[in-house]
Symmetry: C2
Amino acid sequence: MRATYLYGAGDVRVIDVPEPTIKQPADALVRVVRACVCGSDLHPYHSMPASDAGTSMGHEFIGVVEEVGAEVTTLRAGDFVIAPFAISCGRCEFCRAGLQTSCALGGFWNDAGLGTGGGQAEAVRVPFADGTLVAVPGVDAGTDDARLASLLTLSDVYGTGWHAAVRGGVTEGSTVTVIGDGAVGLLAVLSAARLGAERIVLMGRHQVRTDLGREFGATEVVPQRGPEGIAQVRELTGGGSPIVLEAVGHRPAYDQAVGIVRPGGVISRVGVPQYEEAPIGFGSLFLPNITLTGGPAPVRAYIEQLLPAVLDGTLNPGRVFDRTVALDDVPKAYAAMDDRTALKVAVRP
Amino acid sequence: MRATYLYGAGDVRVIDVPEPTIKQPADALVRVVRACVCGSDLHPYHSMPASDAGTSMGHEFIGVVEEVGAEVTTLRAGDFVIAPFAISCGRCEFCRAGLQTSCALGGFWNDAGLGTGGGQAEAVRVPFADGTLVAVPGVDAGTDDARLASLLTLSDVYGTGWHAAVRGGVTEGSTVTVIGDGAVGLLAVLSAARLGAERIVLMGRHQVRTDLGREFGATEVVPQRGPEGIAQVRELTGGGSPIVLEAVGHRPAYDQAVGIVRPGGVISRVGVPQYEEAPIGFGSLFLPNITLTGGPAPVRAYIEQLLPAVLDGTLNPGRVFDRTVALDDVPKAYAAMDDRTALKVAVRP
């Protein structure tokens, strides 16, 4: 089959690899209906050292179960499924607590230990299929593109935006600032609105994106960055935003979050940090009693809750997709997202 | 009157200064009954550059109101009061929200802007007296030493330990690890126990202190530090502590907190950070969805709640005091706390 591999910064290739097979009794084999490229895929796309072996790519996909191992009880061939970006056993303490990204046995796609391939491929072997996958009755590979796109967001970006808002403590009447107008930032806006936020300031400078952000619920848009953007948000919010959702992951976005958060407030991060050390001392987080929270979203814990409004068409988070490519064109998808001519690209194998 | 000034690292002097007077109509003048030396006073005691002017010291005291300004409505001469370590107007958004340490108009003792002196003195001018001070009926300067010591902890260390536990989310049945066996660490233990924690691991290596910690509610004591201490706590807690209360402020204590916290858990800091940057990236806080919270305790918000059990003798947080000195002996108090021959020293002016 064809599958996507990254061989170093900027070097994405779609290559022939062996078809995956069931290896463990808890495995399922899923034929991919849609996959996509994530903002976080751009981090290794920018920085990965050259590698002869390469690494398989993609951690968001929806598809149809082709075969299940002997121990799989909740799925069978033909089921339409959403695959969260983390593999989870479904049984350990962390899975039971809804923190599947810390599963004691699980891991992530392209994981050497679990021997899994990535989702930007024709098919994927899914370990711990009962714990990992969520079946969606009434949907199949022939479902219309818009619905499939929205279902695909449940494998990562919608659940991630939701996690940002939930961890940020967004509730009825909240004032929230979202940093970043990528797919996750926009879906953090949607999530904050869904949780009842009254004011949602979106920091982003790509008007096509921020326009979608307004449709998703943003009440104000601040295109400025750095000190100017901070001053703008502090003025708009009368001294700082009680809740800041950081959906970028670069250090300047963190510094911006610290700059705009109100004393006693919360910074909830879901952008994968591209830094390790950052200011958290007396002058930044401590004196104003700021809470820093967030992390990779346990989207598996959120899918059942978010699914109904997607299925009945109340919400269309799939609008973050503005392009669809064939699998062999995935390198173009990376390039388009990298130069920001595309917001988020779906892949149709 | 006599007052304590710090002129540089290790250089504490008790000098003659003018008696404070009422300067603003919201001021009160308080004759100090007991003051004390704080663990956080040791930070400038270690590192302050030499200064000819010096800086007045002390931010914890209880005393008797001697005189009030024309606008003071809740206090009068003769009232016994607890002074929190932060000055707060009592009316702004942050005071009303119980975050008096972020008061829009207030500040801290020894504040150049507010023109306040420190509490390690015979008398103190208190700005925003209605918002700052808490009157305690039925107590006077002649109350027994043990009761006075417990009341004095409400000006900082007990409220600070309580803040750590509250921000850490301690509740019935919690497993908590407290880093630090100073007065704040021990009172974080007491607070966690009071909030219903079932297991309280205390990390500290001074047996006199950890013995008091056990009396306050610690169920286990880990004297080891660094990797050895981390391994010990991870083993005791079966993979990490869901709640970590950090009551030291030095960088190794933060690193220890990161090392022992369980995925999905909380690090609540109340030790004043002696570092600005520290690891918060993918491998430290992000991947395991750790929440970092805490800051200077708004003790003013907690005093009324904590007072009854102190007044009726149910709790004796004042047991953290193991020495009392006269005001002129304050330099000895700093030295004794610095070389750890004293846990916490009360000052009787």
